[in-house]
């Protein structure tokens, strides 16, 4: 129970150290400043050679393209993650697996949407995220209804329990796919949330709450679980807000919408109920105002040129939360945080690379710095 501090390193110390080591290789502000000055992709490559990325592009023939850079960045991340996964033991291995389920959901949705648009499966497979690939993935286009999808493909995958809620949907069209995606995500986030909560045993749950109330969060199991929880809560709330905003102008009914909200965020239950009633952006904003951290995000965002979009604001907030994860020790949050930070970094590099490649320098500064 309260021994998590000194028993943690027995199983997970090496990997945590490794992860923190990897984290030190994340590009700093100074690196970004240099990257932004690049004239060509070759310059970008030359500069990245001086960072932890090393010679990851050394064996690529010369006219570089952004997609090659993207692939290589992702490949490197995946190799690192998989290395950690292969060395992990229970319960960390479960935790890491849970992280990959999110990518599986994305892959499934991508494939279904693709087949819906009559794209050949061989064209879709390379677009899938390698972390979320599973054996039956490529045969997904056999299914034409959600029930079939469940019975034939997903029943063997770890996603099966999340999918149970979706079987009732009649057939696979755009709208339903979107609903399936969000239902899956909701189930997944809630399961992940529960998993994190239960990791320290049944009492951990209670402990968490007590510690949070009394404010001394710096002891025992509270530490190791606080982080992933708060991250997931953020994730859940973000989804709820984004779903709400995106649903305006579609035929999604308010009841259906409310079903898609993950029930594990900070906004649960009052905020979600309010969100369910919202009709336009302003109302969402009002709801968010009750929550200090989200209110700030809405404040600075807008759709005017020069303003940051709400999505970017969320990303920024996410980065901040992820960086905070490294301030505490003996918890699994660092792995999640590292993966997310690295993904953000890949997005940043690709963004800069795109801007460089298209000679579109005006928006090149729109990356989200990490450190």
């Amino acid at each position: 129970m309260n021994s998590s501090g000194f028993m943690f390193n027995v199983d997970n110390g090496y990997l945590e150290g490794l992860c923190r080591g990897f984290k030190c290789g994340i590009l700093k502000q100074a690196d970004y400043l240099n990257l932004v000055q690049c004239e060509t992709l070759e310059d970008l490559k030359l500069h990245l050679q001086g960072t932890d990325y090393g010679s990851f592009l050394a064996n690529e023939p010369s006219p570089l393209s952004v997609s090659v850079i993207d692939d290589k960045l992702r490949e490197k991340l995946v190799i690192e993650f998989q290395h950690m996964r292969n060395h992990a033991v229970e319960p960390l291995s479960n935790f890491l697996d849970f992280i990959t389920y999110g990518y599986m959901i994305d892959n499934i949705i991508l494939l279904i949407t693709g087949t819906l648009h009559q794209r050949p499966i061989s064209e879709l497979i390379p677009k899938c995220h390698p972390l979320g690939s599973f054996e039956q993935m490529e045969a997904i286009h056999v299914a034409s209804t959600p029930a079939e999808l469940y019975n034939a493909v997903l029943v063997d995958t770890p996603l099966a329990p999340f999918f149970v809620d979706c079987i009732s949907e009649q057939d696979l069209d755009e709208m339903n796919i979107e609903i399936i995606r969000n239902t899956l995500y909701k189930a997944y986030l809630e399961a992940f949330h529960n998993f994190c909560k239960n990791m320290g045993g049944a009492t951990a749950d209670v402990m968490c709450e007590i510690l949070a109330v009394s404010g001394c969060s710096s002891s025992c199991i509270g530490i190791s679980l606080n982080f992933p929880l708060s991250r997931l809560q953020f994730e859940a709330d973000r989804r709820a807000i984004i779903i709400t905003i995106n649903s305006f102008g579609t035929e999604l009914s308010k009841d259906d919408r409310a079903k898609l909200y993950p029930n594990c965020g900070k906004m649960y239950p009052d905020g979600l109920a309010a969100l369910a009633r919202a009709d336009d952006y302003e109302q969402v904003k009002t709801v968010a105002e009750y929550y200090a951290e989200y209110a700030a995000l809405f404040d600075g965002s807008g759709n005017n040129p020069g303003d940051k979009t709400l999505e970017d604001k969320f990303f920024e907030h996410e980065v901040k939360l992820n960086v905070y994860a490294f301030l505490q020790q003996f918890h699994f949050g660092v792995f999640y945080a590292y993966l997310k930070l690295k993904e953000q970094e890949c997005r940043n590099i690709v963004w800069i690379a795109e801007c460089v490649a298209q000679k579109h320098r005006a928006k090149i500064d729109n990356y989200i710095p990490i450190f």
Binding site: Q49, G50, M137, I140, V142, E148
Partner: protein
């Protein structure tokens, strides 16, 4: 002064190179490897430097070469490595090289593409061949097995098989089945069983089967068979195991579904004719096509092989060339561009002695580039600390490395390496003294030295071997010295040699010897009077009771004697440093009190040992007989603590010589008096000097630059020292003093490790002899021979493994410590930084090592 004793004198030079000649000049300097360039534009990004495009082109060339290397390695073609290093090619030759590589790469890629296509074709045909062969078996065997197992209730199924097995009568069968089929399935549906055959990766088969069953709700029938021989994957050449499968199903809907699943699992489907005759015919066709393909594949492989063999001859050479070009452009990137763009300005550290050679190299470079303007090498004044450069050869290199591992010497500081060459093996040998073990070690070292060239040529990654090989001269010297000390200790595998005949004789008769376990030899009668000519008398080998006591007394004393001399030598070295750096204050108030302290206390103790050895003997009369010999340790303790010595035994004297008490009191007082001198004199004098200096400027108003010039004028290019806080000086000085005074005591005691390890080594060797080998020696008869052989093998392994390797390592580490801590702390600062010249040899070696590691 000789370069061995101090690092080279360095000069900071400015180099003006004409733009056209710069490349050739830097190339010449790279071959020479005597110049360390400084980065003159540290603020500029890597990709904004002048020659970044050339560097990039080199990167591209290297990539192509790596690709070639990979392909060559894949085919297992030996690469010619002559070890020679071709000159860096001219910039214009770079284009030729690029073109050559481009051509080679394209050719190779094309060949590979063709080969891959052919291989894919081949793979498909082989798979088809296997399908035809295996499905034949399915069709053949399915009838009887199904018939037997399925019983009567599945007669329908049986007929389906029948139908499949003999498709020639298909129509008939269909008719026969007609009525039943209508009953069994929905009316109007055609009961034609279809099947697909294909090949799938073996590890994906279980999931595939499960998926099929789920997706088709168990309405398909799958048979599979393994393909025994692994097939080659055409994309990466890996060997993969695959399985043939055949799926039977009914209806078009299931067909599309099955096909989709097959596609999803990357199973390759092949057309398989239903009629046996067609299959046979097809199999024949496939066989002939495979044979044709085989010849074509062979030709492609031959072509590829020829291309690669041609490339393999030059590959290493090309690598060297490209790396050199890249290094040159990297160096040029460090240079500053002149305002007129006509010349490049470089700053570099060069050894003073080599300026001539560098000038010559620069001239050669200019001539080669055909430029008319000679390069200018200009010495610059600097306050910066120059790098430390010790010229080494293959012999001194390892010793210098031992010193540098502690810390690179400050610029022009006394270099302990030359003395280490002798003291290191010697102190090691004191601990490792055994003629036999030393001989093994020396022979190993000698073998490495004799085979030096051959061993050096076969570069290995084996770190342990590289360490041994790098230290081959140290190992040889350590072994040789150990043989010498082994002779002195008279130890060979823990036994003694009786070369000159013992100088002790026994006066007991046979029966006395046989009856008594222990007998004492009387030095007054049994001893010849003159010692054994060299080393220990072998008589001690048989002295079971007091051998260790005797050895301990001897070894402890020599340990202290060597230790004190070693430390005094270290202190004397600091005198050389002080005189060289004109540090009068340190010389007077640090070196002299330190030396006096050491001499009066510890060297005096060493002298006492000699006096005791000389004056006291068993043959002497009473005041100087062996019984009266005082303990040196007790004497020394009494001396330092001013204790009154204990009353001597009857007829003995308290002191060894006249006036000893007075001398001892005097020595201790003077030595203690040295401590405040060491502690206070230097900081006080500095304080005084500062006070005076503070008054002076009012009178003379000297500028900072002038004072800087005056202080630095004394020491050639010396460092520009920041004024230290006075309190810091006091603290430093007190730390140094405490360290020295306490260190003298603890370091002297620390040298006792020489004795301790020597004792341990001798005892281990003896234990090994008595517990292992002597058992084998005691056996009798022919059986004893066999036992002895086994026991000897065991003993030999333990001797080499434990006594030579492990004990050797331990003694080595202790020796290293004695040098780093006890010796070098007396004079060595080790705060410099190493000279890293721009040298092609180093760059190419590193490049090769990095490539190996990948």
């Amino acid at each position: 002064m000789g370069s061995l004793f101090r690092s080279e004198e360095m000069a900071l030079c400015q180099l003006f190179l004409q733009s056209e000649a710069a490349y050739a000049c830097v190339s010449e300097l790279g071959e020479l490897g005597l110049v360390q360039f400084r980065d003159l534009n540290p603020d500029v990004n890597a990709f904004q430097r002048k020659f970044v495009n050339e560097v990039r082109r080199c990167d591209e060339m290297e990539r192509k070469l790596r690709y070639l290397e990979k392909e060559i390695k894949k085919d297992g073609i030996p690469m010619l490595d002559t070890g020679e290093s071709p000159e860096a090619p001219q910039p214009r030759e770079m284009i030729d090289l690029e073109a050559t590589f481009e051509k080679l790469e394209n050719e190779l890629r094309e060949v590979n593409q063709n080969a891959e296509a052919l291989k894919r074709n081949f793979l498909e045909l082989t798979e088809l061949k296997h399908i035809l062969r295996k499905t034949q078996v399915f069709f053949d065997e399915s009838v009887p097995t199904v018939y037997k197992s399925s019983g009567t209730h599945s007669s329908n199924k049986y007929r389906r098989y029948l139908q499949m097995a003999d498709n020639q009568n298909e129509d008939e069968q269909a008719q026969l089945l007609g009525e039943e089929a209508v009953r069994a399935s929905q009316p109007g549906q055609n009961l034609k069983l279809g099947f697909v055959a294909g090949v799938i990766l073996r590890e994906r088969l279980p999931a595939f089967e499960r998926m099929l069953w789920r997706a088709c709700r168990g309405n398909v029938f799958l048979r599979q068979a393994m393909i025994e021989t692994p097939l080659e994957d055409p994309t990466n050449g890996d060997q993969v195991h695959k399985s043939v499968f055949i799926i039977f199903f009914q209806g078009d809907q299931l067909k599309t579904r099955v096909k989709k699943i097959c596609e999803g699992f990357r199973a390759t489907l092949y057309p398989c004719p239903e009629a046996p005759a067609d299959r046979r015919e097809m199999a024949m066709g496939v066989m002939t096509r495979i044979e044709d393909l085989n010849t074509v594949l062979g030709q492609t492989q031959d072509h590829r092989h020829r291309v690669l063999v041609a490339a393999a001859k030059n590959l290493k050479n090309w690598f060297v060339k490209v790396r050199k070009i890249k290094a040159i452009y990297h160096t040029l990137n460090l240079f500053n561009l002149d305002v007129t763009q006509k010349c490049l300005i470089a700053e570099c550290w060069v050894p003073l002695l080599d300026i001539e050679t560098i000038q010559l190299a620069l001239r050669r470079g200019t001539e080669r580039s055909g430029s008319s303007v000679p390069p200018i090498l200009n010495r610059m004044q600097t306050f910066e600390n120059p790098p430390t450069y010790n010229r080494t050869n293959k012999f001194t290199k390892a010793f210098q490395a031992l010193i540098d591992a502690y810390g690179v010497a400050s610029y022009r500081e006394m270099n302990p390496a030359p003395y280490t060459i002798i003291t290191f093996p010697f102190l090691f040998a004191v601990m490792f003294g055994d003629l036999g073990h030393g001989a093994i070690m020396a022979l190993f070292g000698l073998w490495m030295i004799r085979k030096e060239k051959g061993l050096a040529a076969q570069k290995t990654d084996n770190e342990i071997w590289n360490i041994f090989f790098g230290g081959r001269y140290i190992i040889f010297l350590m072994g040789a010295f150990s043989m010498y000390t082994g002779l002195i200790y008279n130890d060979i595998f823990s036994k003694s040699l009786n070369i000159f005949g013992s100088h002790w004789h026994m006066s007991y008769n046979k029966s006395t010897v046989a009856d008594n376990k222990y007998l004492q030899l009387n030095p007054n009668g049994d001893y010849e009077g003159a010692p054994y000519p060299f080393g220990m008398d072998p008589i001690w080998q048989v002295a079971g009771a007091n051998k260790i006591i005797f050895h301990n007394a001897y070894k402890m004393k020599i340990s202290i004697i060597f230790g004190v001399i070693h430390m005094i030598f270290g202190v004397v070295m600091s005198w050389h440093n002080h005189t060289y750096f004109r540090n009068r204050i340190s010389m007077l108030y640090e070196f002299i009190p330190q030396l006096i302290f050491l001499l009066l206390l510890f060297f005096y103790m060493v002298l006492l040992m000699f006096i005791k050895w000389i004056k006291f003997a068993a043959t002497n009369a009473k005041p100087y007989s062996e019984a009266c010999a005082p303990s040196i340790l007790i004497t020394f303790i009494d001396m330092v603590l001013f204790n009154t010595p204990k009353e001597p035994v009857k007829d003995c004297q308290t002191y060894m010589f006249f006036g000893q008490h007075f001398i001892q009191v005097l020595f201790v007082l003077v030595a203690v008096g040295c401590i405040p001198v060491m502690l206070l004199a230097k900081p006080l004098l500095i304080m005084q000097a500062r006070k005076q200096a503070n008054i002076q400027p009012i009178a003379g108003a000297t500028s900072d630059a002038e004072t800087g010039a005056i202080t630095n004028g004394g020491v050639g290019g010396g460092q520009h020292e920041e004024e230290e806080e006075l309190s810091e000086i006091f603290i430093h000085q007190s730390i140094h003093t405490i360290e020295y005074v306490l260190g003298s005591v603890s370091h002297t005691a620390s040298y006792l490790r020489l004795w301790a390890l020597s004792l341990a080594h001798a005892q281990l060797a003896e234990v090994l002899w008595t517990m292992v080998l002597s058992i084998g020696l005691k056996q009798e008869g022919w059986f004893g021979g066999i036992i002895l052989t086994c026991v000897f093998a065991f003993w030999a392994i333990l001797t080499v493994g434990i006594l030579v390797l492990m004990e050797g390592l331990s003694a080595f580490l202790h020796t290293l410590r004695l040098h780093w801590v006890e010796f070098q702390s007396k004079f060595y600062k080790g705060q410099g930084y190493a000279f890293q010249p721009f040298s092609f040899d180093a760059i190419i070696e590193n490049g090769a090592a990095a490539a190996e590691a990948e």
